[in-house]
Symmetry: C2
Subunit: 455 residues, 2 copies
């Protein structure tokens, strides 16, 4: 087993912390240690050992463990952490997660030297949250009981804060995830290593990256190109403006680089760049749940007029087109519902329930002039009930090659319908604009795939 | 009392519907009638009369009511609605809300003729939801128990669907509102009338408009210019792309107009244009809750590094600057917290609680180099607790001239902190980008005010 694989798939883990050491400003604390122990005991399917490092006192040592753990998680202040890391390397631990931050340059170098001298890979330091693997229950975060459901999204975040935000979002909306890796200061394991691993990971269907700086730019672009052939990569880049870039430099000791160069490199590699955390996950959900969009022609099927017009605007703004419905489509819908005005966007009128949506969507999804659909089913001002949304998922499954995204709109309406559809393949968004943007991402992914297939 | 005032402030209202008539596809139905009665009985502080129109049978007539109602709300199919509207006009009803849609051109003309012949103003038809006034409890919507709390935002929506979406959002997030008007087909009362009314309404602090077409463009721009001198207008325009514009035309019989012309006119009038429903409300919340932004210099105060960098990026992308903190600010914070690196964005580190936020925000808000602040207080990966957020509101109140916006980030974190802050003056957003955009809106409003004051 390689060191990077051991980060995610160890059979045994040792947690090194202290029930005594409390940093004044910093992460090392008894509470953090206890919380990581709690999560590992609760979720991890392998063997977990705990070593409580007490200054000046006797404590159980690494050598006394019944086996050599494959992974060590160290939650200690920098000086103690470096000592313990060396002890781990010496006994043959394959991978190490250095949770805490605040390392001096010399201390980071000491960790780096260990990776050169011994057969060990180190994630961090300053990773804060470490690793999550939903397949084996590995969870080195100190957020108690925050375990995503299993799903196809994997997240690599340089920032503990941004990663924690994404983890919170993924758990709260039950989005589902495969792997999480918080890279922190990246003295050893970086995005290149992690992309190589995720490329081979059968559970990972889409990769979400948050990064501030890029080391080994050429390697990164090369491996990204490889990954993109089979899995989409979505990237949120922080530190793109001058002031923020300077801060990013001091924050995780990496070089932010010119944003223009980054942008060009991302485009070349087929990486999809996004502007914020919400867009990152909205795009990933669409890519994991729905097929790619084979053409530009979108139908909007709605029970309200105004939001359908906003959806139509957003479709065009995202480089797509409003589909011209086939004559046969118009005829068949018109015969069943003579009072409907069958033009795209199609307004099913406020009293439409599951039966009308199913009938119309079945015909529109069969229309050769239509490549994908934005469905709008508002509850407020309409007769639609949350349970009617099940019909959207069911009819979409009958037409697996065309993407369907759903917009209930609003706050409460979104919450109700999202709850019904969260375990289905239908992505749910709270504005027509976000839904159209998701289709735009699915179209872009189709173009990248087509380019890859040609070469 | 003018007709438009009677739409919002009637002392007595008659509800005209039918417990018998159910349209096959359309809005008129016994359920709708019963739901509007429910809302009016529950919320309206004035007198409510109900007339149940039964075909071919005797029913209580308008003339038999003990007084002439000032407002009539008609929820009947077009032909019956036109008859009853005429009866209302004849007895001296001052204002009428025509809820249902599906009117023929000739029927719309009949309603229009009534407004010329009698002293009556008509909202609609096809308004769907009608009017809400949180001051007197008037609520002609059929969404049971959907009554916003009192607040400074007033909404005028041409679309029932978009308006319902905004209403849902405002109720769900307890944003607070003053007035709602759903204009529908606008055969008589339009945005010009409503803006004139809202301009004088002391409860309205900001106006949110959703419109597809503009009638009387010159009048609209003139009255908007008037309003903007004292209250901001935020506008979401639907039907801006060609396909959507054609649909808007058939949807509410209005002309969408060239988007370039619209954009120029909005700019001239000082109207702030937004791109979607969420942005509309995010901007309105900031304008109602916080002071305008007097300068470009923004400080970011955060308990996490990565999201602070994203905030810094977003500040610059929104045309603002990262403030250069005064030396005195750095010295005072550094003296209290020697391990903090006092540069902007200021990273208070993951273990910051209310006391550290209060101490630092007090100093930063006093810094003459700082005009406004993005606060980031994540819970996940941090020690911050939801109740700590109260401190942000309290310290902000001590510095009432500088806007403060808050970002808890994520899904659950946002929900927790929003619940604590929803009744305070601190706007809460779920991404740094939305918070920075809100400050951008407050800056823009400052510029519009400065221009107005000069002229």
């Amino acid at each position: 087993m390689s060191g990077v694989t051991a980060l995610f798939e160890p059979t045994s883990v040792v947690l090194l912390g202290s029930s005594e050491i409390q940093e004044v400003i910093g992460m090392a604390s008894p509470q953090l240690f206890i919380s990581v122990i709690h999560n590992m005991k609760k979720y991890f399917e392998g063997k977990t050992y705990v070593l409580d490092i007490k200054e000046g006192k006797d404590y159980k040592k690494l050598e006394e463990l019944p086996e050599t753990p494959e992974l060590a998680v160290i939650m200690l202040p920098p000086n103690v952490s470096v000592q313990q890391s060396e002890a781990c390397a010496k006994i043959g631990v394959k991978a190490l997660v250095a949770i805490t931050g605040g390392y001096k340059t010399s201390q980071r170098q000491q960790l780096k030297d260990l990776t050169n001298e011994y057969d060990i890979r180190i994630l961090g330091p300053n990773t804060i949250m470490g690793i999550i693997n939903t397949t084996n229950g590995l969870n080195t975060t100190f957020e108690r009981n925050m375990m995503p459901t299993r799903g196809g999204i994997s997240v690599v975040s340089q920032s503990g804060g941004v990663g924690a935000c994404l983890l919170d979002w993924i758990c709260f909306y039950k989005i589902g995830a495969a792997k999480f890796a918080f890279t922190g200061d990246k003295i050893d394991v970086n995005e290149v290593d992690l992309l190589r691993y995720l490329n081979k990971d059968p559970k990972t269907k889409a990769v979400c990256l948050y990064m501030e700086g890029i080391e080994n730019g050429r390697d990164f672009i090369e491996v990204a190109q490889d990954v993109v052939e089979s899995k989409p990569i979505l990237t949120l880049k922080g530190g793109v403006t001058e002031g923020a870039a300077q801060r990013a430099l001091s924050h995780t000791t990496s070089i932010a680089g010119s944003d223009t160069i980054v942008d060009a490199a991302f485009k070349k590699a087929g990486i999809i760049r996004v502007e914020n955390e919400e867009e990152l996950l909205n795009a990933a959900i669409a890519l994991v749940k729905q097929p790619i969009l084979g053409g530009d022609n979108i139908a909007v099927v709605s029970n309200v007029g105004g939001p359908a017009i906003l959806a139509a605007d957003a479709v065009v703004k995202n480089g797509l087109k409003l589909a011209n419905l086939a004559e046969d489509t118009k005829r068949r819908i018109g015969r069943q519902y003579p009072r409907l005005d069958v033009v795209n966007p199609i307004d099913l009128i406020a009293d439409a329930r599951a039966d009308r949506f199913t009938f119309v969507l079945d015909i529109v999804l069969s229309d050769p002039n239509v490549d994908g659909i934005v469905v709008i089913n508002m509850l407020k001002s309409c007769f639609f009930k949350p349970r009617d949304a099940v019909a959207i998922a069911e009819i979409s499954e009958k037409h697996p090659s065309k993407p369907v995204v759903d917009v209930p709109g609003g706050g409460e309406d979104f919450t109700y319908v999202h709850k019904i559809l969260q375990d289905t393949n239908i992505p749910v968004y709270n504005t027509p604009e976000k839904a159209a943007k998701a289709l735009g991402t699915l179209r872009r992914r189709h173009r990248t795939r087509a380019r890859t297939d040609e070469s």
